[in-house]
Symmetry: D2
């Protein structure tokens, strides 16, 4: 993984840029979250081949909170099919706070599965055999690629202060949207929110959505490509609450944030991304997390409506002359293509004879993502005297 | 253009499928639209090289109505920059009807530029030198690639019945969002809605957004790539009013509809698409237009969150043996790649000697879009005895 | 009570007028109410001296439902004082349905104590010593002047289907408006709604509010004059939900309806009125009940903003000449004054010698309520040959 | 009018109590009002016999603003009848600000005639023959009992900044609630708001509503008793915007405020009341005006749901013994009855012989309004040695 160093160093640079920001505060309405350490900062990215590159406090655990919602939605859609889920939950942005007490006038459907009311309605669709909590924990674990656990203290804290969610659940019950076991459903929802993850886990979970439901680390097809696309579509319109339109304009990534400070973002077919920083802005999104994702989207060209192919790999032609190995790049270099170029350089450097110099010819690139180019040059520089650029 | 026949015939098939649908009625609130012929049906698509393929009543003119909104937005963003426009208009879906009388409580901003209030605020940002109406007509014409005209009868009808829009304009004025020339602004807005277009014009206009602001027919860079991406992002969140979330889920195409029965849709980097059929559903969208676009998205794999690259072209290797030309496709065939394969087949057929047969080898395709494959086979079949498939 | 016959016959006439109306249906959302007999029809009025005049099915019992709300409000105001109650519940009409899930954004206060959310918050203010249910039943009984009971079947039915009210209660709890015993509070509320009353009971309860908190039958001062005035004021602005403004315009009586078909109305200082008929209009008010009260208000001049004093009693001068007793009325005769005139006529008729005729001289009345006059003439006619009018 | 001195001195005392309050500021959104002198303070009351008692700056003129609304409503109801007016304007409190842009979804009716939208719809109902402005000015003048005038500067200021009202008018037009002469209607509305009045004028106008449509000063029956009752009912539910319920609870007087600092209140059958002080609270009501009316209502027992008859006059028995005139009060003394007692004392004092003392016997009063008693004692004290109380 030495060849990932250039990308890792780009990440560290991004983390350093936002680290001094200390505005916002941790979520106050759940006692266990209110007293959380506000300072950790982390990010992680997973590419198509399952390599996870992390930075900062990427081993720190925290509770998943609302980020669980799209994944439990994927579970419900797998079990019941899209149309059956849509009979109980809408897919329109609500224009209201995440915990709004409002349902569609005639159907009683919550606005979408990513606000609390809709998430509770989604949890209610999870099979209770053998045990609803078990089924949810298993699927979240499959998305993450390792067995996850519930933080029992946070769970108890959520349950002790969760009267607004109970109100939502009884309201759903009164419209017949959920079954009679209101208490059981709400407690399952609190447990689902209390699952412990790291930002690396979240990157893998996001990656599983980005790569059509297939976990890029374990190779397991967790949900179908169709379900993954549906979930990504819904994250795109509703994932950032009443900031969703501006988010899509500025950042252009389907995403979902949680009140403990995490955010996941999906770059379809390219990356799963996750960030973590507990201080929240007034909308309830991680302040530094938002800034990191905006920076990543801009620098690495990840906006879904960018015309340039972020995963573009140039053609690489290697020619050997005495004392010199020439590596010529031709075509387009997207950010997602950097990994491929770095791997090639790495391999050549390992096999080069002593004294052989390596010349990189980028003059024929029709277009190069600046961050990708920076990573490639960084790798070249690491070769010391042996590396040289022709441009 | 003979080689486009297979695609054209796919379009005709789609048109035939929806033609019998006669539910819905023409817009009733503008007298000139209420009496319009409800029966025309048309569609058109523009690819990256500016070929426009149309079907049905694709030469019929109608007024552009709300479809003008994203294009005038592009004009305003070009003149003032994104942030300046956002100071006056939001970018969140409103969760309300297109003609809702509601502005952001504190700023007085309309919810987004694609509802009437936001569109009027956008029109007010157009320079009045030499003449606001002229500037708008010119930019719409640049998007369409030909000089457009206003239907003066429809304009007068709109103006005579436009009191709700006048109410919106005075409300905007009372918040200082627009300048004092309220009457002039509203009349410009009515004129902009009354510009005459065909479905072919709309396909080129949508294509100009799809290809980064560059008109694929005239080659003119009408707006910057950045502005085009912003407009496409906003169409994606707000283009289909309070149906936008479900539209993104099911169809997955940034789009905008108009009350005269047109809809434009953007397949980024691949196509501009337009449909036309005047009968509207209760939400005010063209009934058959919606069905056509859903069909196109599904059959041609155009959903923006589809993982497969819709524009994927296979590598084509042509080898000649005595009496036989072998055309081998390798890699992935997206719908957008079909045009390239058809062009190749076309060229080979023209240059083939008499008696030479043409063998298409698709056995090495890793993935093929079904509609693309259908078009290719259709072209092969048109060669009669000379064509043969190896699969 | 024979002298009340004329008034009783006016009531029977009013009941006969509305009896044929059969539009509307019984409340469907509580199973026990849905199957109630829809046909009973009754009314009752209580005057200042505690005489209850009833008509129709005035001995039939039904559950009090929302009519309990103003009386439990009176209890809470008595215990805590007006300001303390207002800290938890507003007094503005909500402009929303009675079971709306909406609280004041910052305080979490329900709009007013006569919608469900506000009534639950009010019930929560009742002391739990010795037992909340007991305290409520005792005060409702004091208002009615007899010991009331709960219908246990209806209570169980309400509890079994009361999830929307549970949602409201948990929402109130989440804002700290009610204490932690959410389940206990909601069950008390269901029991309070299930108390059995007759229309005669309701007339006495309304009368207790009309006469400054003093039960006109038992003479008990149930609540203070100040509390009674407050409750009547709140009924006036909020008692008929989003029909309150039109109700005050047309009928002009502070009132409160219940879903089982009862309505109470207060004519300050004059009458307590109650009607009962289970079929409800789309707003949830008794169809025939509304019609009866409109008729009473108009015919008997009960509108609170009528300038004429509804309780005006004329001066009565009785002079005896041989064979003739002259009864002269001077001044104003309001509807509330009829009882006094009737009592006088009754007494004179009883003490008149055989053969003595009774001459009523109404020529000096400056103003006479038509219904009051009708009742007086009816009483005179009952005297047969002995009675005569001089006008 | 010397005998009114005691009441006048009570008023001066009330004015002195609130005079030091200087919170709030003048209305800022109309330039001419923003620069108004914020300091004037005045009140006036008119009784049934047309005596106007004023205090403070009661000769100062200011523009009537929204206080014109109930009077133009009375005009419209007179011309068209209640039901015809109700077809175009509702009578429910809106739960929204006075200048809210919202109409009933299906009918397009404004919530009520006392919010701006409803007032414009009402002004549109005024006949245009000979001239709408003339008709309105005439009726306002009839209510006031003298010829009123428009402040042309304020009118121009309102018109120059009235775009929100223009928005409302075009919205009403778009629903067909008002006719096509939108500009004319709005200008008439601005003129109606710019009529100059004193607080004494307003007291007479309120008095005309209080006494069944009959101007107590001129004796003219300006509108029918029925229309006056309807207007008072609507003021009662909607007159104080989203403070109406609490106002009815605390003050209990149908009222209407204006943005220039005036408020009128109606004590049915007893008084017309008006106050004036330009500094407004955040709801847009005169800060000191509200306090004055609360004080008047409480001290003088004017709450409409007070059981005691505010206009109650005791029976007065005058007996003369040598050197002493005994005045015995028997029954109830309401605030409205004070004037009668004072007049009697006045007359006796004038006709008393030198050396004769006047003994007031209040020992038989069953109830006395404290302020009324204070006024009576004040008058007695003014007699010096000659006056004496027996209680």
């Amino acid at each position: 993984m030495g060849r990932m160093e250039p990308i890792k160093s780009l990440f560290e640079h991004a983390l350093d840029t936002v680290r001094p920001v200390d505005s916002g505060e941790t979520a106050q309405y759940i006692p266990e979250l209110a007293v959380a350490d506000p300072d950790p900062l982390a990010m992680a990215v997973t590419g198509p081949r399952g390599v996870v590159i992390g930075g900062g406090d990427d081993e720190r655990t925290f509770t998943i909170q609302s980020i669980s919602k799209p994944f439990v939605l994927a579970l419900a859609m797998t079990r019941l099919g899209r149309e059956e889920v849509l009979r109980r939950v809408g897919v329109e942005p609500s224009g209201e706070p995440f915990n709004a007490i409002s349902l569609e006038p005639e159907t009683g459907r919550p606005a979408n599965p990513l606000v609390n009311a809709g998430a509770i309605a989604t949890t209610a669709l999870v099979p209770t055999e053998p045990d609803r909590d078990r089924v949810i924990l298993d699927v979240l674990s499959s998305f993450a690629g390792r067995m996850l656990e519930v933080d029992e203290d946070v769970y108890r804290s959520e349950s002790a202060t969760g009267d607004r969610n109970r109100a939502l659940a009884y309201l759903l019950r009164s419209h017949g949207v959920i079954g009679p076991d209101v208490t059981g459903i709400v407690e399952s929802y609190f447990r689902q929110c209390s699952v412990l993850v790291t930002v690396r886990d979240l990157a893998v979970m996001a990656g599983t959505l980005a790569f059509g439901g297939r976990n890029p680390v374990t190779g397991q097809q967790v949900v179908s490509e169709h379900v993954a696309r549906d979930v990504v579509s819904i994250m795109s319109s509703c994932g950032m609450y009443d900031f969703s339109g501006e988010w899509l304009l500025r950042v252009g990534l389907p995403a979902k944030s949680g009140v403990s400070g995490g955010i996941v973002a999906v770059v379809p077919a390219q990356f799963g991304v996750a960030v973590f920083s507990p201080r929240l802005d007034p909308r309830g999104n991680s302040t530094r997390g938002i800034q990191l994702l905006e920076m990543l989207s801009t620098e690495f060209g990840m906006h879904v409506f960018d015309l340039h192919d972020g995963s573009a790999r140039p053609e690489i032609a290697v020619t050997r002359a005495p004392g010199e190995i020439a590596v010529r790049l031709d075509g387009e270099l997207g950010f997602g293509g950097a990994e491929h170029v770095l791997a090639t350089l790495d391999r050549i450097a390992e096999t080069a004879a002593a004294g052989e110099s390596i010349v990189l010819d980028a003059s024929e690139l029709s277009r190069a993502n600046p961050s990708a180019m920076k990573a490639v040059l960084h790798a070249l520089a690491a070769l010391g005297d042996r590396g040289r650029l022709l441009s």
